[in-house]
Amino acid sequence: MSPDTGPDPEPVRLGDGDGTGPLTDVTTRVRSALVRFVGALRTAGVEVPADGSLVAAESLAAVGIDDEDRARTALRAALVSRPEDVETFDRLFDRFWRRVTEAVDDRPGGVDTSSFDGGFASDAAGDDAVADRETDDPHESGDDRRQSSVSRRLGNVDAPETDDGDTATRARFSPNGPSERVETDPLGGTATADPTPAVRALTDAIASLPGRRRGPAADGLPDVRRAMRRTHATGGVVMEVPQRARRPDAVRGLVLVDVSQSVLDTVDREFLVRVLRTLTDEWRTARTFLFDTDVTEVTAALRAESPDATLREFDRLEAAWGGGTRIGHALTRIRDRASNAVDRETVVLLVSDGLETGDLSRLEAGMTWLDRRARQVFWLNPLAASTAYEPTCRGMVTALPHVDGLFAFAEPADLFDIARQLRHRQRPVGYEHDWRRTDR
């Protein structure tokens, strides 16, 4: 009767007829998904009790995972203690349940994970899940084992997934420290909206922002120097006062993308890759760096002929996905090794949830450097797509004073909205004025 308070809850029952293969893998993955779910709830501001994960695991073990509604009710009873949190819970539960379903569907012989943002091994338990998956499942055929062990590729639409023998996958993540191999799915399988029009709108909006260079203008400030020069021709009499203003410019940019697991949980990877590719195409120059616990420049990879080719390039570059967030470290590395990536013409887009796990003073120093050096710094935060979001985490609080705008980033509509906000220069900009909150 007394609840089991040990670290490992009872294996989740999978219902009748499921006992044909070892359930360790599935159980571990479900448990991993649950831990991540609880973490996501906390991040979203839900008041989860300190031992919420344990009680949730016990609850799930008690009701099983055969019935979504029952599992939802059980977890709600264990994890939610305020009515106002129910909506957030329900929203995040859907994602959790998708992972659970995938874990169940992805049992022996099956590598058919269908979600682009799949992958359960974001935390310690998840790492175990991958290890289990690679070593413990005697029901996997040789090919399947190889397929699993080569880790899930970020995408390969053209080549068949099961028999290409591609062992070069380097998609990796871990919350901190060494990266771990993970599985991902092909890009082409999901119906992500084409972000190209949205990126173009954003590009136009950024390009229309006044740059640092000044030029003749009808409604600018008096150009005293030019006026003085002209007085030479009129004997010292000022006939007219020319004006000058900052000129719109082609967009030169630096894109820093946090590919830590917490971001990948909220942003569709396909959407992310397509946006990055389009930015690289549309901007005059754009250098892109991926970072989690390490930094990798992927500018060249984004110019590849197709998204899948880009992923293959990522693969070749051993770009790591899904680690922890060390923004300060990344900025320091860029400042030390690629300081020419930022100059006073550069617009910086920083895609991150701001959940910094590194040294905050380093983040502060890095943001100060960016702010001082770049033309504009825009922070795109996937978590701001939630209307309940407030930038109260330590990383965001540190970075916010150095940012020209904090926006949501989850779908093309967000990019359109950033463009809309930037076009209205007199109005305040930011996530709090976006379409989700103002219904514009």
Binding site: M1, S2, P3, E47, P49, A50, D51, V55, E58, S59, A62, V63, D69, R70, T73, A74, R76, A77, A78, V80, S81, R82, P83, V86
Partner: protein, 318 residues
């Protein structure tokens, strides 16, 4: 026997629990059934929150009835202290014992004989065959100090009595804690409980409840009653009617059914039985006190609102 009932909980299913609720005429959705089942299986207290009259207290009563066990109720109020909730010494008896010299025989007046059990201790020392249902009602009315007292009880299901020692339970009681959310509860208390928020019932659920609880009322009238209360809840009232108020009203209408309040309403074609005739404005006005418990709310029901209520009733009947 303890193990028996706990074994019962282990093997208890949603369907079994649902049938138990059905037998007690308690209309419970899957969400309620699953959460209660979970609380029983995990042996955790169940914290039930919701609007007044949503059936929170009834849930505990139904569980006690369904499991054929005792219901031990602790009604919370501001200033509730340990001696009213846990135990106190029978001072009068102690005094008499001391005066009569009996204490010399016994050695102490702090023994079981002089102990007055209050609900929490009674639940822990319950010696029935089945664990009792401990209902801690409206815990939000009690002070935060009382919550701290509850923590010890709910964590280990034991209580320390300095003069006697620690009293632990053999049969973990089924604990149901209700709150009307007049204030937030401490995290420590919430952490020890499973949480259930009872939503205001939908039209269909409320209709089913009224049908069960007031079976003598005609179906069409039940629909009209539920239609009107549903419409009333859309108004900005100080105290919107809960299910309890709906049931009160339904029963009031049943009582008045034999003597229609509005004698001026003719039977259109002479075929309407009293059950068939629609609710009239007079019916509603004369029984509004069952639904609305605030004078301002009653005043708020002007002709326009009344007309909307009648329309809602008619729509529901159809």
């Amino acid at each position: 026997m303890t193990d028996d009932i706990h074994d019962d909980f282990e093997t208890l299913t949603n369907e079994r629990l649902q049938s138990l609720f059905d037998a007690s005429d308690y209309v419970a959705e899957d969400e309620i059934t699953t959460t209660v089942l979970l609380a029983l299986k995990l042996g955790r207290p169940l914290l039930v929150e919701g609007e007044p009259g949503a059936g929170k207290t009834e849930l505990a009563k139904v569980l006690a009835e369904g499991f054929d066990t005792d219901l031990i109720r602790l009604q919370c109020y501001e200033g509730l202290a340990a001696e009213s909730a846990l135990y106190e010494w029978n001072y009068t008896k102690q005094l008499l014992a001391v005066q009569s010299g009996r204490d010399d025989d016994e050695g102490s007046v702090f023994t079981e004989e002089y102990l007055l059990e209050r609900p929490l201790l009674r639940a822990l020392r319950h010696d029935g065959e089945r664990p009792p249902v401990l209902l801690i009602d409206e815990v939000d009315r009690a002070d935060e100090e009382f919550e701290a007292l509850l923590l010890e009880v709910l964590s280990d299901f034991q209580v320390s009595i300095p003069e006697l020692g620690t009293v632990a339970t053999d049969t973990t009681p089924i604990v149901v804690i209700t709150s009307n959310r007049t204030r937030g509860l401490s995290d420590a208390l919430k952490r020890r409980c499973l949480y259930l928020h009872v939503e205001p019932p939908s039209f269909e659920k409320e209709r089913a409840i009224v049908r069960r609880k007031v079976p003598e009322l005609d179906d069409a009238v039940v629909a009209a009653v539920c239609g009107i209360t549903e419409r009333l809840r859309e108004e900005s009232l100080l105290k919107p009617p809960g299910v309890a108020e709906t049931l009160d009203w339904a029963r009031a209408l049943t009582v008045l059914d034999g003597a229609p309040a509005d004698d001026t309403i003719p039977a259109d074609d002479g075929t309407d039985t009293p059950e068939d005739r629609p609710l009239t404005e007079t019916d509603i006005r004369t029984t509004l006190g069952c639904l609305l418990k605030e004078a301002e709310d009653v005043e708020r029901i002007d002709d326009e609102t009344m007309s909307a209520l009648l329309t809602a009733a008619e729509t529901a009947r159809q």
